[in-house]
C-alpha cells in the first residue's frame, strides 16, 4: 500500500476526478505551471492541458463568479482560492451567487462547484494565511462544507465533494499537507454519506469533537489522558455543514461529557453550534456543560504568538478536567 501525504492524496483525487469526468475544470491563481503554492495541483496541467487546468488573473471574486458561469454552461468547476484569508473578496459571489443560483432558478441551474480552500493555521505564515472560516460558510444556506483530517479522508472526501451536484467548500488543513498515511486510492470504497462524522478513537469518559488539524491534536490529548486512565473518545466531525447531529448524540450519550475544539475565534465559532446540538439532544445525559476550546477573540496572530492562540494540548486537557470534575452547583 502506498504511503501518501495529504497533499499527494488531494493531488491524486484531482487527477482521478479529471480522468473520470471530462467536465471537471481546475483553476485558480498559480495552479497551472507552478502546480499551486502547496503543489496540490502539481502535474495536472501537463496531464490534462491548459484548457482544463488553468491559471486565473489575481481576482478571487472573478474566480467564484466564473465558476457560476462555467457551471451554468455545464462544466464542473473545482476552483482554488490560494489561502483562507483571500476568500473574503469572493464572499459575495460565494454567498449571493454560488450558494443561491440553484435556489433562485428553482433547480434549473445546477451548481456542482467544489471550492478548494487551504485553511486553518499552524504554519507560521504571514497575515491572512491562517484563518478558519468554517462558521461563516456553515451559516450560508445552499453550501456544504467539509474539512478532512488526513490523507485517506482527504482523498475520499474530495472525490465525494466533486461528485456532489451542489456547491461544497473543501477546507484543507494546510498544517497537515505533509502528514503521511498508508492507503490505496485505487481501492474502491463505499463513501459514507455526506454529513457523517467518524469516531477516530473510542473512549468512555468524554468525547472530544474536532475537525481538520485539531483532530490530530485531540488524539494526542487522548493518548496523554489514557496514561492517567482517562479514556477519551475522539470524534472527527469532518462535515461542518451538514453537521452529524446524530453521530454527536450517539457518542455523547455514551460518554456524557464533551469538549469541542477549534482554531477559529470562540465567539460565534462553530463550537457554539456543536455545543448546542449536543445539549439539545443529550441534555438528560450530560454530566457537565459542553466545554469549548477555541482561538481567542483576537485576529490570528503572527507566528511568534501562534502557539499561544491555537488550542494547545494543555488548554484541551484543562477543559477535559473541568468537564470531568464538574459538579452541578
Amino acid at each position: 500500500m502506498p504511503e501518501l501525504s495529504l497533499q499527494q492524496a488531494l493531488n491524486t483525487a484531482l487527477r482521478h476526478a479529471c480522468e473520470d469526468d471530462d467536465r471537471v475544470l481546475i483553476f485558480g491563481e498559480d495552479v497551472g505551471e507552478l502546480g499551486g503554492v502547496f503543489r496540490v495541483t502539481d502535474g495536472l496541467q501537463d496531464k490534462f492541458g491548459a484548457q482544463r487546468v488553468f491559471d486565473t488573473p489575481l481576482a478571487e471574486s472573478a474566480i467564484m463568479g466564473l465558476s457560476v458561469g462555467l457551471a451554468m454552461a455545464g462544466w464542473r468547476p473545482v476552483p482554488e482560492i490560494q489561502f483562507d484569508g483571500f476568500s473574503y473578496p469572493a464572499i459575495d459571489q460565494i454567498v449571493n451567487q454560488v450558494a443561491r443560483m440553484h435556489y433562485r432558478s428553482r433547480g434549473s441551474l445546477g451548481m456542482p462547484i467544489t471550492l478548494r480552500l487551504p485553511s486553518f493555521g499552524g504554519i507560521r505564515a504571514p497575515e491572512h494565511h491562517g484563518e478558519s472560516l468554517e462558521s461563516l460558510f456553515a451559516h450560508v444556506p445552499g453550501l456544504k462544507v467539509v474539512a478532512p483530517s488526513g490523507p485517506s479522508e482527504g482523498y475520499h472526501l474530495l472525490r465525494q465533494a466533486i461528485a456532489d451536484p451542489d456547491p461544497v467548500v473543501f477546507m484543507e488543513p494546510k498544517s497537515r499537507y505533509w502528514q503521511r498515511e498508508d492507503f490505496d486510492p485505487a481501492e474502491p470504497v463505499e463513501p459514507p454519506p455526506i454529513g457523517s462524522s467518524r469516531v477516530v478513537r473510542r473512549g468512555r469518559h468524554a468525547t472530544l469533537v474536532a475537525w481538520g488539524a485539531m483532530v490530530a491534536r485531540c488524539r494526542q490529548v487522548a493518548e496523554l489522558a489514557a496514561e492517567d486512565g482517562v479514556e477519551l473518545e475522539v470524534l472527527d466531525l469532518r462535515w461542518l455543514k451538514p453537521i452529524d447531529a446524530d453521530g454527536l448524540a450517539e457518542s455523547v450519550s455514551r460518554t456524557r461529557r464533551a469538549v469541542v475544539v477549534h482554531e477559529a475565534p470562540l465567539t460565534a465559532g462553530l463550537g457554539g453550534e456543536v455545543s448546542s446540538l449536543i445539549t439539545e439532544r443529550c441534555f438528560g445525559d450530560l454530566r457537565a456543560p459542553v466545554q469549548r476550546v477555541a482561538g481567542f477573540d483576537v485576529p490570528y496572530p503572527s507566528g511568534a504568538l501562534e502557539d499561544e492562540y491555537l488550542p494547545s494540548v494543555d488548554r484541551i486537557l484543562t477543559a477535559v478536567q473541568t468537564a470531568l470534575e464538574y459538579r452541578r452547583g
Binding site: A62, M72, A73, Q93, R104, P112, P165, G195, P242
Partner: protein, 329 residues
C-alpha cells in the same frame, strides 16, 4: 447618432412591436402596483429600445443573456413568458418562474455587478465547448463602479472570451447622476484599457442598438473577444415604485429627456396602421399577462426547502419535516 429607420424597415417594425409590448406591460405593472397586486416594481420606461434592440440580436440556439432586475424588455424580446418573469415582482419567487436554462436568460439578479462575472464564466464554458455561442450581459452605469465589473472585463480580455458587456447608461443610479458615478464619463471608454473595443450607441434608437449588439456578438462568436456596448438612454420613471425622483432631479430634465422617448419616436416613424396593429398585439399580451398574474398562486412553503440543494441534506429534510408538521398542527 443615427437617423431614424425608414418606415419600410420590417426589422424595425418587429423591434417596435416588442418595445410596445414592453411599454404597455410596464404601464400595467405600475398600475398593478398601485392597485396593491404587485408589492413593488422597477419600471423600464424609456429603456425599451436599449433592451429590446440588444436582446433581439441574440441567437437563442447558442447565446445566453444575463439580466439585472430591470430587464423586462430583454425578457419580452427573448420570448420569456411575462407572467413567469413578473412573478418576481409579485414576490412569488426571487428569480421569477421561467426556466432559466431553456429560456437562455439567467434569473433576474439584484446584486449590481455580480452577474457580469457569470457571463464571463459562461462564455469561457462555451468557448471550451466550441459552441460558437456568446454571452450578453446587462449592467447599469451605477454597476460600472463595482469591482466585479473590472475583474470580469480584465478576465474576458486576457482570455479573449465571447462576451458582450452591455451597459445601459440611463443617466442615474437611483439618485446619483452618471457624472458623479463614472470617472471619465464613459463606460465604453474603459474598453481600451483592457485591449478590446468599446462603442457608444444611441440607446433610444432600437435599430442602432440592434446593429451594434449584433456586430459585437458576431465579433465574439468568431473569436474576436469581448466588446463593451454602452447604450445611452434615460430612465424616464422612478428607480422603483417606492422612489421619488423629484428629490434628486428636475421635472425639466425629465421633460427634456421624454422627447427622446423611443416609443414616441418609433411611433412617428411607422404608419398609423403598423402602430395600431402593434397596440392591439400589446393589449392582448397585457390582458393575458394580467390574468396570468392574478391567477398566480403563492408557492407552497415546501418550495423554500426543495430548491436549496439538488441533493438535499438530512438536516434540511428534518427541518422541512418539522415545518410540515407545524403546518398540519
Amino acid at each position: 447618432m443615427r437617423t431614424l429607420p425608414l418606415m419600410d424597415d420590417a426589422e424595425f417594425r418587429e423591434l417596435f412591436r416588442l418595445m410596445l409590448v414592453t411599454r404597455r406591460l410596464d404601464e400595467e405593472a405600475i398600475a398593478l402596483q398601485r392597485q396593491g397586486v404587485l408589492p413593488a416594481y422597477a419600471p423600464v420606461r424609456g429603456q425599451e429600445a436599449a433592451q429590446v434592440g440588444s436582446a433581439a440580436a441574440l441567437d437563442l440556439s447558442r447565446d445566453f443573456a444575463f439580466p439585472t432586475y430591470r430587464e423586462l424588455g430583454a425578457a419580452v424580446a427573448m420570448g420569456v413568458d411575462p407572467v413567469a418573469y413578473l412573478a418576481m415582482h409579485l414576490n412569488i419567487w426571487h428569480g421569477g418562474l421561467y426556466d432559466a436554462s431553456t429560456s437562455r436568460l439567467s434569473p433576474p439578479n439584484a446584486v449590481v455587478g455580480g452577474p457580469v462575472l457569470h457571463a464571463v464564466g459562461w462564455a469561457m464554458g462555451a468557448q471550451l465547448d466550441g459552441t460558437g455561442g456568446a454571452a450578453l450581459t446587462y449592467f447599469g452605469d451605477g454597476a460600472s463602479s463595482q469591482g466585479d465589473i473590472h475583474e470580469a472585463m480584465n478576465f474576458a480580455g486576457v482570455y479573449r472570451l465571447p462576451v458582450v458587456f452591455f451597459c445601459q447608461n440611463n443617466g442615474w443610479a437611483i439618485s446619483l447622476p452618471t457624472a458623479r458615478q463614472v470617472a471619465g464619463g464613459s463606460v465604453a471608454a474603459r474598453a481600451a484599457g483592457y485591449g478590446f473595443e468599446g462603442v457608444r450607441v444611441d440607446g433610444n434608437d432600437a435599430t442602432a442598438v440592434f446593429e451594434a449588439t449584433r456586430k459585437a456578438l458576431d465579433h465574439a462568436r468568431s473569436g474576436g473577444g469581448p466588446t463593451i456596448v454602452e447604450a445611452m438612454t434615460y430612465r424616464l420613471g422612478p428607480h422603483s415604485t417606492s422612489d421619488d425622483p423629484s428629490r434628486y432631479r428636475s421635472a425639466d430634465e425629465e421633460r427634456a429627456r421624454a422627447e427622446h422617448d423611443p416609443i414616441t419616436t418609433g411611433m412617428a416613424a411607422l404608419t398609423a396602421e403598423d402602430v395600431a396593429d402593434a397596440e392591439e398585439h400589446a393589449a392582448s399580451v397585457v390582458t393575458r399577462t394580467t390574468e396570468g398574474l392574478r391567477a398566480l398562486k403563492t408557492p407552497p412553503g415546501d418550495d423554500m426547502f426543495r430548491f436549496v440543494h439538488r441533493e438535499p441534506t438530512a438536516a434540511l429534510l428534518a427541518q422541512h419535516r418539522a415545518w410540515k408538521e407545524s403546518q398540519d398542527a
